[in-house]
Symmetry: D2
Subunit: 342 residues, 4 copies
């Protein structure tokens, strides 16, 4: 079976696993106070180009979003997000469970528009009853989005400026950050992200780690006393060094970026193969997630040949949208096989 279901179906990248094995017998202090974590933090800060940043290593994505948002918002505030955003749809209400409303904006292939953010904030404060509504207290976006799309540097700069002029932080969910940075068209660097966002996270789970997300706080006014919140949210691992070891492996020799580039280039080969044969890419995604509208006959043909992938939404009468995702574990042979089946 060849898997294009998601980027978290296999275990850890061999280089990451190798480091976990190599350090397994060592004893360290717990809860992230170990030297591996310290080293990983330094590597991440260096990769971001922000010496003054604070970096925290958490376990999973929903957990990270809930912990960060809970730590940033005041009690009367909510978080702005695309109506397709992960926190708005697929986190089992984790944000509301912390007491905060997700204030939704229209999305354009997963992205929010700067003008919509500005209008929302302006109209909110123009409403005489605004104290009876939930104040926009931060902006959540993801890079890349749920649709695999990425913001341009210009778009990201505009969002950042709007947020800062409204005195609300910009938070970027980077669950698949490596794939966004490696996108064909992308003109945003990790340094740009670190400069334009107030907080963001570098996703490990979907980029070769067993698990782990690195929160980078560049705005020094935010998230003081974050460790107790991390613990409240169940994200403080006793064997915290597991996160340190993995992120050290990911950032020591640019493994994180290499995984991103490899997977994106594979995804684009698949995209080209489908499109050149006349199939529609329903989203023009430049990253490791590709969405195609395929005849059900082709879907069945591929599946009967041991190609595994997800349908996106419900199966249509004749055609259905499907998603193909590449990751660290996708091989050259996987790519060749699927193309040969088209």
């Amino acid at each position: 079976m060849i898997y294009f279901d998601s980027d978290y179906t296999a275990g850890a990248h061999p280089e990451v696993l190798e480091r976990l094995c190599a350090t397994n017998a060592e004893h360290t202090v717990g809860y992230g106070c170990d030297s591996y974590t310290a080293s990983a933090v330094e590597l991440i800060k260096s990769a971001c180009g922000v010496d003054s940043a604070k970096v925290y290593l958490l376990v999973g994505g929903t957990q990270t979003n809930a912990t960060v948002i809970d730590g940033i918002l005041a009690r009367h505030q909510g978080v702005l997000a695309a109506e397709s955003g992960h926190i708005a749809v697929h986190e089992s209400g984790a944000i509301e469970a912390c007491g905060h409303k997700v204030l939704t904006l229209p999305h354009y292939q997963g992205k929010v528009k700067a003008s919509d953010v500005r209008s929302y904030i302006d109209e909110f404060y123009r409403d005489e009853t605004y104290e009876h509504m939930v104040a926009p207290g931060m902006l959540y976006i993801s890079f890349p989005t749920e649709y695999g799309t990425v913001y341009t540097l210009k778009e990201l700069t505009e969002l950042s400026e709007i947020c800062h002029s409204a005195d609300i932080p910009l938070y970027i969910d980077g669950a698949r950050l490596a794939y966004g940075l490696a996108a064909a068209s992308n003109d945003v660097t990790l340094s740009d992200i670190a400069r334009l966002a107030d907080v963001f996270y570098i996703g490990g789970t979907k980029v070769g780690a067993l698990f782990g997300e690195a929160v980078v706080v560049t705005n020094p006014k935010l998230l003081h006393h974050f460790t107790p919140l991390i613990k409240q949210h169940g994200a403080l691992l006793a064997k915290g060094r597991l996160l340190g070891v993995q992120f050290e492996a990911l950032f020591r020799d640019n493994l994180y970026f290499r995984i991103g580039q490899k997977a994106v280039s594979q995804a684009l080969i698949i995209k080209e193969a489908f499109v050149s044969r006349g199939y529609t890419a329903v989203v023009d995604s430049p990253t490791n997630q590709q969405f195609f509208l395929l005849p059900n006959t082709l879907i069945d043909h591929l599946r009967s040949n041991n190609i595994s992938f997800e349908t996106w939404g419900t199966r249509g009468v004749e055609q259905t949208t499907v998603r193909f995702v590449t990751g660290w574990a996708t091989t050259q042979s996987d790519i060749e096989t699927i193309i040969s089946l088209l």
Copy 2:
């Protein structure tokens, strides 16, 4: 350096790590819907002797406590616990963050007394203003306790009966369950735990896993719709099979119990060594945690000989209480070395 600081200072038991490595390249579905998790669940149910139990695999201890307690209590209820209980002291307010008060009872070397539980409940409902107070909605105990002590079967039976006569669930935190079951004096089996508790968890993090806690729900009335709560609490791992693989390894050939027995027998050798030399065991612990009142000179002597361990509370003028903990990684040679230094 030889470490007696805690049972989570090293990585995973080699048999666990071996399985993680052996399965690393496989692709599976996410979020615990994989076959490893299914297999682990069956092994755990079998070990507990309760076919009808529901088993859920979570990541860490504080997270597990918060998720279970949040899932059980009604909004007007709190959780009874020893004032020394982990949820009362060392979880950064995770229980309160879910909206619930921890109602504390006196502790006796970490244990609560059945009569105190009964009095609390009786007096609560006898108070005319009880609706202005927080109703006791469940009982939390740990086995073994923070002091390494274990409940006898008689004590556990009494607690269970009191809870059930008051119609509140009994929840047992088994972060170190293996060490309790292996205690010298212990007359409680895993089946007893499963029979007497309504919910409990089998700790993996401190018993040879990289991380992981298995929640066993034996009361069929409790914790329906638990998966969304697990996700809300950040405990639903994308690569959920990591938990399945580890618990399968721990329960396939009784590894879980072997780790417990080995570590407890080592701890008791250390205890005997200290006590026979005239040092006081400040708690009569039969498990893998041992507490001694030692002269500061001996403490300094041991530490200067690369023996690492924690002080328990603040350093005294001449004597200080210290804690020695054994785990899967404690070797025969470690034991011999420390004894030779006494």
Copy 3:
């Protein structure tokens, strides 16, 4: 100045105030355990025709919604509501502050459609990832709605059937219930409400009380142990008899219904006056709230003649939507004055 701004701009109806004054010097026990409250509860149950109902007297509307919803929903659930619903828009995030998402449905002049409710529930459980989303745990509607419209008995029956077939409670916000029951076209009785809803509240604040909302629980499975929740939510008045005295006054001689009928008939006279002069009623409201699209010149003319009312949304270039609301304090002379100014 003549006020059509809202139905809460004046104090209490004279009959209500008279009872507060008459009983002021009496001493009673606190927290709603007094005989006035008991009497009010009996009168309300009798008016609803449900002897077995439980009735609780709270202080305000947002508070009542938050307390009821918090008491009904399980932790993984949210509340379905029209996107125009009060809980979705104008409660400062009080529902989310309790940990629950408001799941919004399209609205049709403030009403939700039974088919939309059914689709939402069906599609939710058809989605394979539904455990990663927020489960619909109850339906919130208001009678009348924010737009002054009312559900027909057929519509209400359908909503009730859908809720019960999906095993989720139907909750009706009756902040302005008296005006809905008195609506020209209305075919729904208080008994119907009590029969079709699982919980609802009878609004006092906007119908002649100083404050106060009576929660009626007809589904015996819901809201056990509600008093501590009422207190948690700040709704348990020390001088609880104030609520009892007021609701007794409102329900003793049908004052509640008389206020509704009087105000609605006045509102319909105003409506007729505007419409017959060619102005548009932007909502076909049969209750005490009327919405007209008026030329700005007329708006200014009325206001300069001491008629006070609210604009609905922002002022247009030439025309603006305005709201006229009648209440217990609206006089015959008020009606004549405004009509004379058209």
Copy 4:
């Protein structure tokens, strides 16, 4: 029947009720934006001698405590309070429902000791695992306390200094503030309270209002954006002017202080009567609450002569502690009657 049960058993002081009646027919804007509220705020600020203070009028005491504490604490913090404090015992878990632990201190007839506060804070930050515990984020005291006792100016100054040196706010629950200020021995003025506390509230419910508590925020760093929190907590009354009218009446001609003085002087006459006859005052309370240890025979004698009062705790075999409370409604004749019965 003569009532000494509590200070909230009767309605409003006649001067307060008279103002409610006099203003009842007026129309005002809602939610506390009316001129009566503005006037009350000015009178309160003037009485406190702090022009720059912010004043908010809420409905009830538990609600006020929950709203203020929820607004002040960061997510990782708890509130220090006497173990006998109202928030620790008698608020149905309202503080925990907001997500915060009540961190209890020993009490001495209801009061906390400055040295205990200091030790708690010092020891907290000295503990290496403090990030795994709940940080003390504010201090809650009441003036007078649950036992009717008051802090001296020296004690209050010490508490204030400790709080400010630890950078945590001091919050004073003044549910019965008038009675504390009127205490025989009291050397604390309202201006002292306003100067030493960061936030406090002036209780109306127990001092002659139908309901109402005035929160005074003197620390300009605290409780920005408080109105949405007031609404979230169900404390924003639609007819907000009811609070304004009442507090205006209470503060216009010093009615608030007159009520306090009258009730305290009556309570001290009762105290003198009991003590001079050899009965024990179990607390040396200088305020309107008096606690006596009485023979059950006397208790029964008084009750059979229509004197109503509460027992404090459970009835003893021969003697029982009882509480006598005076209020605005206690008459000279009430006092004479009870004394005649001793």
